[in-house]
Symmetry: C3
Subunit: 207 residues, 3 copies
Amino acid sequence: MSVIRTFDLAGTAVFAVTGALVAGRKRMDVFGVAVVGLVTALGGGTLRDLILGSGPVFWSKDTAYVVVALVAAATTFFLAGMVRMPTRALVVADALGLAIFTIVGAQRALDGHFSPLIAVVMGTMTGVFGGIVRDLLCGEVPLILRKEVYATASLAGGLVFVLFLRLQMSMPVAAVIAAAVILVIRLAAIHWGLSLPTFRAPENEAQ
Amino acid sequence: MSVIRTFDLAGTAVFAVTGALVAGRKRMDVFGVAVVGLVTALGGGTLRDLILGSGPVFWSKDTAYVVVALVAAATTFFLAGMVRMPTRALVVADALGLAIFTIVGAQRALDGHFSPLIAVVMGTMTGVFGGIVRDLLCGEVPLILRKEVYATASLAGGLVFVLFLRLQMSMPVAAVIAAAVILVIRLAAIHWGLSLPTFRAPENEAQ
Amino acid sequence: MSVIRTFDLAGTAVFAVTGALVAGRKRMDVFGVAVVGLVTALGGGTLRDLILGSGPVFWSKDTAYVVVALVAAATTFFLAGMVRMPTRALVVADALGLAIFTIVGAQRALDGHFSPLIAVVMGTMTGVFGGIVRDLLCGEVPLILRKEVYATASLAGGLVFVLFLRLQMSMPVAAVIAAAVILVIRLAAIHWGLSLPTFRAPENEAQ
């Protein structure tokens, strides 16, 4: 449990940093930056816990998550004007955060005896929902839904994780393989600028 | 129960299609279309179950809802570029979906021994919330709140449903009458372009 | 309990009025105004109850909240075209609503044996979340996150409230002092146009 929690807190910190960066670009004040950082970091797990009906959400009983997210967002706020953020490192860290949240989300659903399909949905939701709310709060159509192979990486990793568990693979091994799948897809997509096809509705379709 | 569930799944499919169409017009990729379809179809019932505190939300234990919504959204995605969608049929189907969700939402609240007022609120919320989130995710002010006699149709039908049940009418009869009220108001509003009045705040009101 | 509930209902009415005013400026119809009014008034407490996992949310079992919010929003809708709203009085009333919601939110978390940090977070969330959703529904980047010393006032008051309770001060005294802190900070911020600093990310930071 302690290993999972350590990873989970690391993912929380990274997501809080990305939230703080997006909010900062929108010229939000320090409070806005803190809120967007918190929501980005905790939003996915919050929605997951609400939907699974598992009582008080995870961070209301384990304060470390709130503290880590706040410290990460505040540090970002105060450093952002002073130093150049290492964008490349951040992208990799963000992909790692996505992998962690996906696996933790899927595992929580399986712990609650939900079906494999729901576990995959919960994994992806845990991974991407925070970023969706971040973009909504910042007045943008969520990037995740438009351009990048982001949620798709989460979805693929979640499928691999759940499938390998069903094949009796041990949890840590399945988790490492699933995380590798997410990282590889995500970083390949960034490196080669991959995106999924969109559809073109006939113009006269417009209401 | 089985009859209600069949109708409920039909409403789910229709709402997933409308979500997928709106997302597709925004050039979202296949994953974005699937997410918006899912959220449009399941959003209203999810918020209802959360607010009523009835444990895990309905679709987390009955996977058919997720499957139906995903299949409907994916089919829309792949067909949208190929065939012209039958807009007229869709509008009628959407009105039917609204009627079903309104009645199911109100009934769930009454099953939980909530007051008639809350049942009406829950009916309308179940009917319209998915569409509101769909529009938010697509970067638009929710259409439902601005222009159309949409939620008003849901509200009127919910009131009729709850009122007739209190007058000891049997549930199926009350449901059919309430559904007819919603369909007639909604289709009349579309046909004649009806809308409710807005208010004009004095200009010097602007903050 | 009855005193708290009276204040809480007063805060509900004021927030419903602010929601109705913002929705009205967006030319929403009477239904849209009612929805935005309801969400502004009940949104914060709803999210708080969901996160604390305290079963059905407060207004689903105590209908007075819904009735008060609807009446306040409807009255605003019908009066807005006829009379000039007393903006100054509204701003003060809104600050009072913020103070009430902050203290009630923090108290509810403490009642549920959550930590002081979570109580402060819940107080601020109860105070500001309704306004955030109001702005999202109206298609704007939430004002609270951008410009005003609004949430900061709530945060300061929540800290004072929780701190003074820990110092064994009686609840009513701590509540009055915390409310005064919120009112003074908020009204001073409006009067002198105070705002918190924002940060300037290096341009080459843009993704």
